[in-house]
């Protein structure tokens, strides 16, 4: 056996390939303010980056952000959509658009000054008034909710919980023993009763033990009966009534899921058959794929690529398939952009901002009503803050008290 120094060299070298690739770095850089800006790495807890706006712009420009649709390379950006509305959408305060969105939404909240993905509690809020209607905490010994997803009935949500804080970055002041991300994730159904403004948690039967660090996101089906889990190298769909699990593995390079996801990592068609997900290649493009969960097979390679972005900076962290299955919607440098799920071509773009980042958080049946996060809030040293609102016909209606403070939110 060689000396300890040689072994240390070998061990370090053996972990070399685990390091994140440059595309991840580029995407992280774009998290800083500047066009096209992305959501901060850990919302609400970033160090002030006064000079970051120019940085992000430079990096974005230097990368030659571009997108390829159905294999047709474009030199920069997704190109003009058939219907293009450059500039921010007009703002309205009429409550009517808010009624086109599920009445209630759930968000994870936190109180500790640590950089975490998740929250110590889940709140149910009214879309119409923004008021917090109910608050639930994870049953002990679980301390943290890490993911939240919503069924289509506007009052059923699924939460993932774990025992320890999922520390994502190096500035947290927590004891080392709280950094254990290997404890299992558990899942709860949150049923909100609007008559009494109460929320009840019920443990869901997910038979497989999933270490908390392994779960990279989840999205419940619209009818609330199935839960899709992102395990980075595979997708599992759990039938909640029976605990039956169906798995699709990814045997290529890269991973499944988006980068530090907010909102929902997947989206389902309304009938619960087709699942939209992102597949990232190491050092290469990101594909938006559709998986027919009713078709036979166990490989994600059989899923259909509907969009390819050579660089991840060309689209938002969230990509949503509309419930009718006709469109993919995401934020691009051109604003909130719709693509045809059949052809991959851009259909329309609206609500474009020069500064700040945007995300799409929910899409109505055909994408005519969207919940988005826009940089329309107060200007801070880090740039404009974001607010939640409903986008309909290039009109933005803010959700009352809708400061965008949670990266885990679901309608």
């Amino acid at each position: 056996m060689s000396g300890i120094e040689d072994v240390v060299r070998q061990v370090m070298a053996s972990h070399d390939q685990e390091a994140p690739g440059a595309p991840d770095l580029f995407r992280a850089l774009q998290a800083a303010p500047g066009p096209p800006r992305r959501r901060p790495k850990w919302p609400g807890l970033l160090v002030p980056l006064a000079a970051a706006a120019a940085t992000a712009a430079v990096v974005a420009a230097s990368l030659g952000i571009s997108a390829t649709f159905r294999g047709h390379a474009r030199p920069a950006g997704p190109g003009p959509a058939a219907q293009s509305h450059p500039g921010p959408a007009a703002q309205s305060h009429s409550p009517a658009p808010l009624r086109r969105v599920p009445r209630f939404f759930a968000a994870l909240t936190r109180t500790a000054a640590v950089q975490v993905m998740g929250g110590e509690a889940a709140v149910v809020r009214s879309t119409l008034t923004g008021r917090v209607l109910a608050t639930v905490a994870p049953p002990r010994p679980y301390q943290i909710f890490t993911w939240v997803s919503a069924a289509a009935d506007d009052r059923t949500f699924v939460l993932a919980a774990q025992q320890y804080w999922p520390i994502g970055s190096g500035r947290a002041g927590l004891p080392a023993q709280n950094r254990d991300n290997t404890t299992p994730t558990v899942f709860y159904k949150l049923a909100f009763d609007p008559a009494t403004n109460t929320a009840k948690l019920a443990r869901l039967a997910v038979p497989e033990t999933i270490p908390s660090a392994q779960l990279a996101g989840m999205t419940v089906s619209p009818d609330g009966t199935r839960l899709a889990l992102d395990l980075r190298r595979s997708i599992q769909v759990v039938t909640l009534a029976t605990g039956a699990i169906r798995s699709w593995a990814w045997h290529g390079g890269g991973w499944i899921g988006n980068f530090k996801p907010i909102g929902q990592i997947f989206s389902w068609t309304a009938d619960g058959t087709t699942l939209q997900f992102q597949q990232w290649e190491p050092g290469g493009p990101a594909h938006i794929r559709l998986l027919d969960t009713t078709a036979p097979g166990t490989s994600l390679a059989s899923s259909e690529i509907v969009l390819t972005f050579p660089n991840g900076g060309a689209f938002g962290l969230n990509t949503l398939l509309t419930p009718d299955g006709t469109k993919i919607i995401t934020a691009t440098p051109q604003g909130i952009t719709e693509f045809s799920a059949r052809t991959g071509n851009p259909i329309s773009s609206q609500d474009q901002f020069r500064d700040g980042w945007q995300e799409v958080l929910w899409a109505g049946p055909a994408g005519t009503a969207l919940v988005v996060s826009d940089p329309r809030g107060k200007t801070t040293p880090d740039g404009p803050s974001n607010v939640l609102g409903v986008l309909t016909g290039n009109t933005f209606t803010p959700i009352p008290h809708g400061a965008d403070e949670s990266s885990k939110i679901a309608w």
Binding site: V8, R9, D16, A19, A51
Partner: protein, 170 residues
Amino acid sequence: MDLDDALAELVAHSGDRLLRVAYQLTHDRAAAQDLVQDALLQVYRSMRRRGLPPEDWYAYLRRAVINEYLRARRLRSSGEVVTDRVPERQVAGSPEDQIADRAQLWVALGALSARQRAALVLRYYEDLPDHQIAALLGCREASVRSLASRGLAVLRQLAVPAGIGEDDRR
């Protein structure tokens, strides 16, 4: 070359390598990305004030990454418990055990103090001589040797039962 072009070139040519170093320091993909991102932004701000750095871009950035890593660990140090006690191990010998040994060694590297870990990464991953490590860490060469020696001693504690590092002790 203007500032923007310089930054673009910097990211294009040094991003991967910096991330690998950052990952060796943090053992966490997300933390490595954050570390490099923060370092890049600091460098950018510095460049805006002072102009372009010296010709060795990579060394300049690596210094920023190391500084940011040590700074972040200092901020965290009040709450984090760093231990030199490594998990108990069984006597080993099989190939499976050797793989496990290396996994344990990786974990043990993560338990070292920030400066010990930085010293070992710079010495055994970046292959830097001690005088350059000393310059990066802002200490004397003797201190680098001490940091590395103590770090290796902790690792050896773990490794010896399985045979790793036995040569060192003869």
